[in-house]
Structure formats: structure tokens, C-alpha cells
Amino acid sequence: MNQDSLINYVLHLADNALILGQRNSEWCGHGPILEQDIAITNISLDLVGQARNFYQYAAQLINESKKPEGSKAAPSPSGERVGGEVTEDSLAYLRTEREFKNCLLVEQPNGDWAQTILRQFLFSNCQYLLYQQLQTSEDKQLAAIAEKSLKEVTYHLRWSSEWVIRLGDGTEESHQRMLRAIDELWKYTGELFVAADYEKESAIDISKLKDPWLDKVKEIFNEATLAFPGKTFMQEGGKQGRHTEYMGYILTELQYLQRAYPGSEW
């Protein structure tokens, strides 16, 4: 994998985790019951932790790839606007919307509990399969992060699968809400398995994860008495930095402090 692609790939993995972590954290203090409020915020914490590990690695790669003075270094992707030494914080707080490479699914609003649960299930299902492959990667650092995160994602997948079943096979109201959530989110799942340019050089063929992912969705939807959605238009672009309108608002909140008071610490 060439250095630029590797950096973009690591940023893509980091952005996915950060943005979903940020979204889930909006539930803090608002969960339907205390135990599930704690659950979703713990999942947030895991995701932000994974994002930190990926950002630290991306920052290291970007700093290493900066060529010595005078050699007309090509600017590294996403590093150039940050200026100076790139850190995990500058990558999270100082990149603009178009520089974020997260998939569209993770930036979608929380909606109701059904929509949050479904988003988590669809994403964790994909992340689980990806990290399983990634932990045997020749890139030792990516393999280590994946190995570490996989234990956490196993929990996320199990927890969200159980909730999809509970709500789908629950009351008439909860069933209807799950159907609405599927209608809202399904169109953002196609992108998960279409490789961006920087993913094409990776040893993992992301399109090959689609079938096992679908099998899992079918198994859980079946158990949840939810009809499997038919073929529909799939929205893409997040991996390339073309986001839905929600993304700007997320960053406005996430980056506010560092934009208003640059470099502030506490």
C-alpha cells in the first residue's frame, strides 16, 4: 500500500469510529432507561478510544512522510491544513468536513431508539467482519488496533442484535419504529462495501464482506420478524468526503472549542 493510501485508509477507519462515537454520546443522559443510557455511552467510549488509536497511527504516518526541508515535499493528505506537527487532536478537531472520510451511515441522526439501535447493528456487523480480517494484516499497528477493538465490537454487535430482535419482535409500536428505521438507513449501507480508491490497495477486499454481512442481517431480521428490504437506490460519497447535510453540524459541535479557543487545554 503506498503511504498516501495507507494514511487515508487509517483516517477512514478513525473517522468512522469517531463520528459514530460522537453521535452515540448525544444519548448521554437521555437514554430510554438508565442501564441502556450507560450501555450506549460505553459503546461511545469504546469507539472514541478506537478512533484515538487510529488517529495516533495516522499522525505518526503523516509526520514521518513529511520530507526534510527544501526537498519540495508533496503535502500529505489531510495533514497540510493542520500545519506543524500533526497530532491525534489536530486530525479530529482541525480538519474540515470534506476531509472526513467516514461512511454516511455513521453520521445519520440518532432519531429514536430504534434508529440508533439499527445504525449500531448495521455498522457493528460490518466493523466486526472488517476487524476480523484486519487483525491478520501485515501492517502490525493496524493488526494490533483491530485485535484490541474486536473484543469491544463483539459486545456492540451482540448488544445491538439483541435490541433489533427485542424491538422488531416487540410491540406493534416498536415494530413500526424498526420498519421506519430500516427505511431511513438502508440506503446508506451500500457504500460500506464499495471500496474507495485508498481501500483498493488494502489486502482486504471489502466487497467480499458483503455476503457474510447480509447473512447476519437476514438472520437477525428474520428473528426480529422484520421484512428484509428490497433493492433500492444506494447513496454513496462519505468515504470520498461528500457528506450528507448532517455532517457539518456534527463537526460544528465537536470542533467548537478548538476553533473558538485554538490550542486550549484542561
Binding site: 469504546d46 488509536n53 473484543k151
Partner: protein, 166 residues
């Protein structure tokens, strides 16, 4: 160059003084967070691993290790964080498990249920740290921190944290 005269064994004993800020009965040695120590003259490298990726205690723990090393006279300090092999509750010392129980947190079972993807699996038989009953049930997969689950004892009716297998 001044050499700090302290051996690894003594250093491990000193590190016992550093507690997990979220479970203050456990030292970082009990938890199995310290993976290795490399002493080189007045320089030292401590290799640590996080329990969970997002464990907010890691920054505090790192800072406390630095303070300790400075007090011991180490001028060049390096704290390296490694992720692989991933931390597991198997690395928790027996002494640590006993201390956890005394503190009111059920220690992790030797069975690694987290590795299973099975849905609605039967609750693990977790012993109540208060009355020792196995007649307990899980209230939530996630407790007060990411590393704990919330349980309730059906005999003494007390809720308690369970340090879950990982």
C-alpha cells in the same frame, strides 16, 4: 551519567503503589497493565497496555507512572503503550481478584463469555460479592465503566458490579 541503583523487582513493588483511579483497590500490577520494564542507566521504559481502547484512566495512570519514576530519580522516561497482545482479564492477579471481591465488585470468571456471539445467552453464574450466592442475574451488559457489567443478587437483593471477562 548517574545510574539509578534500583532493580526490576523493587521497581515492580513501587508500581504496586499506583492504583487504577476507577477501581482504587487494584494496582496497575494487579490489573496486568504493566507488560515490561526496561532499565538502562538513568533511563527507563515502561511498557503498558490499556484494558479497553477508550479507557479514560490510561492518561492518569501514565501521569502517575511518570511522577513515580521522577521521584525514583529516572531522568529519561519513556512510557510505551502497546495494544497487542490485547489485554485480557486472565492477566489479573489472584491477589487482585480477592481484593476486588472484598471491595464489592465480583471478579471476572475464568470463562470468556465475551468471545461468544451467541444472543440472549444464559447469564454467567456470577457469585454475589456480598453474600456469596450464585442466585444472581444480569441487569445490564454495561456497568459504571466499560469494563464492568451490572448484576443483582436475588438472595440478598443487593445490586453489584461484575468485572466482566475480556
Amino acid at each position: 551519567m548517574t545510574t539509578v541503583t534500583i532493580d526490576k523487582k523493587t521497581l515492580y513493588a513501587c508500581l504496586e503503589e499506583i492504583k487504577d483511579p476507577e477501581v482504587p483497590v487494584l494496582s496497575i500490577i494487579d490489573l496486568g497493565i504493566v507488560r515490561d520494564i526496561v532499565i538502562n542507566g538513568d533511563g527507563i521504559e515502561v511498557i503498558i497496555t490499556p484494558t479497553y481502547s477508550g479507557c479514560p484512566a490510561m492518561d492518569t495512570i501514565t501521569m502517575n507512572i511518570r511522577i513515580l519514576l521522577s521521584t525514583l530519580g529516572f531522568k529519561k522516561q519513556k512510557i510505551t503503550q502497546v495494544l497487542s497482545p490485547a489485554w485480557t482479564t486472565d492477566w489479573m492477579s489472584e491477589k487482585g481478584k480477592r481484593k476486588l471481591k472484598q471491595y464489592g465488585i465480583a471478579p471476572p470468571n475464568p470463562i470468556q463469555q465475551v468471545c461468544s456471539n451467541k444472543l440472549f445467552a444464559a447469564d454467567e453464574a456470577v457469585q454475589c460479592p456480598q453474600c456469596n450466592s450464585y442466585h444472581t442475574r444480569r441487569i445490564s451488559e454495561f456497568g459504571s465503566t466499560a469494563c464492568k457489567a451490572l448484576y443483582k443478587c436475588d438472595d440478598c437483593k443487593e445490586p453489584f458490579d461484575y468485572f466482566k471477562c475480556h
